[in-house]
Symmetry: C2
Subunit: 205 residues, 2 copies
């Protein structure tokens, strides 16, 4: 009567066949949990396999190399429901800036642990990993520019907005990890900075 008890049970675990998609998804979720809790070097593929109740070779079979698996994890962690960004109110400039900042703070504080892990607190800064993060930053910058009403911005304007996104990420880390600043203070800092950039720096580009 012993059908697959957990993983480390006394009873030997019978082999289980799953649909490739399901198995892949299961391993990925385990990897997300582990990489969210410990930095890259301290998570072995053996750990992932054990927690997934699976042979280590299967991890490589589905994700290739360990770094490939990690890249996949970071991609998922940085994937954010940005539909809400396009539904922001269309009021004054300062109103819109405030709304963008609020939306950002909501998102990062909701799933803060995985977000912190992905943005560099506990990852590994390889060239490819950096590329994935850069893509997410660029995507976020696009969202900010669109919410500000600037379509088809110049490269310099995009670059400046990326820098602002960097400030937002850094400040959010400061907020969530150290706990010195209040949310209101963070909100004020980011809103004021955004307005200052839009009004005084962006006209250059």
């Amino acid at each position: 009567m012993c059908r697959s008890v957990g993983r480390v049970s006394v009873q030997a675990v019978r082999r289980r066949r799953l649909e490739p998609d399901a198995r892949r998804e299961q391993i990925l979720s385990v990897a997300i949990r582990l990489f969210g809790a410990k930095p890259y070097a301290e998570v072995s593929t053996t750990d992932v396999a054990r927690d997934a109740g699976v042979a280590r070779g299967l991890v490589n079979h589905y994700f290739g190399t360990k770094k490939d698996l990690y890249l996949e994890v970071v991609r998922v962690m940085l994937t954010v429901p940005d539909v809400a960004l396009s539904q922001l109110p269309q009021g004054e400039l300062s109103e819109r800036a405030s709304s963008i900042v609020n939306w950002f703070l909501d998102v990062v504080s909701r799933h803060s642990t995985s977000w912190l892990a992905a943005t560099g607190a506990g990852g590994m800064a390889d060239a490819e990993v950096h590329e994935v993060i850069a893509e997410a930053v660029d995507h976020a910058a696009s969202g900010v520019l669109q919410a500000l009403g600037s379509d088809d911005p110049t490269p310099a304007l995009r670059a400046m907005t990326r820098a602002y996104v960097g400030l937002a990420i850094w400040t959010a880390q400061e907020w969530l990890q150290r706990g010195v600043l209040t949310r209101d203070q963070v909100h004020s800092l980011l809103t004021v900075s955004l307005l200052a950039m839009v009004e005084q720096v962006f006209p250059q580009a």
Copy 2:
């Protein structure tokens, strides 16, 4: 005439005794060069030992673990001659802000490769590494606050300044790595942001 031929070179390398400080310094300089060129995982202690013409065990003997060696490298890379910061002109607030930014841009552009490597483009984001970077950021924030004339700032003020230093780091990376922005644009962005924070956000704290 053949006395113990070495291993690789045509010329036999006789064992050489060095003063501990000298040997340690030599290995460290090799490690700085390698870690500045390739990310953490792609530099093995064997590489460091080979380039230093030394047995691998000696690296561990002087620096303990590989991560310890890397921490030492990052510390050196982030060590910056900040004496010039205390000699900035004492003019208007906007003058001082501009001078600080210029000083920062000079420093990071001078030894950009190692600085980029240390700030996260090619390192590994372990907890301890992050701690070393955080110390450097806090040190930089102190310099900025001092140059602005604010002695004994509140914790919130320090935190906000750390966030600004984060913006500076991020923007400098954007500048040096992508090459989209000009130095003038970067200078303008950082100066305007600093002034906006000082005048509109800092009063809260």
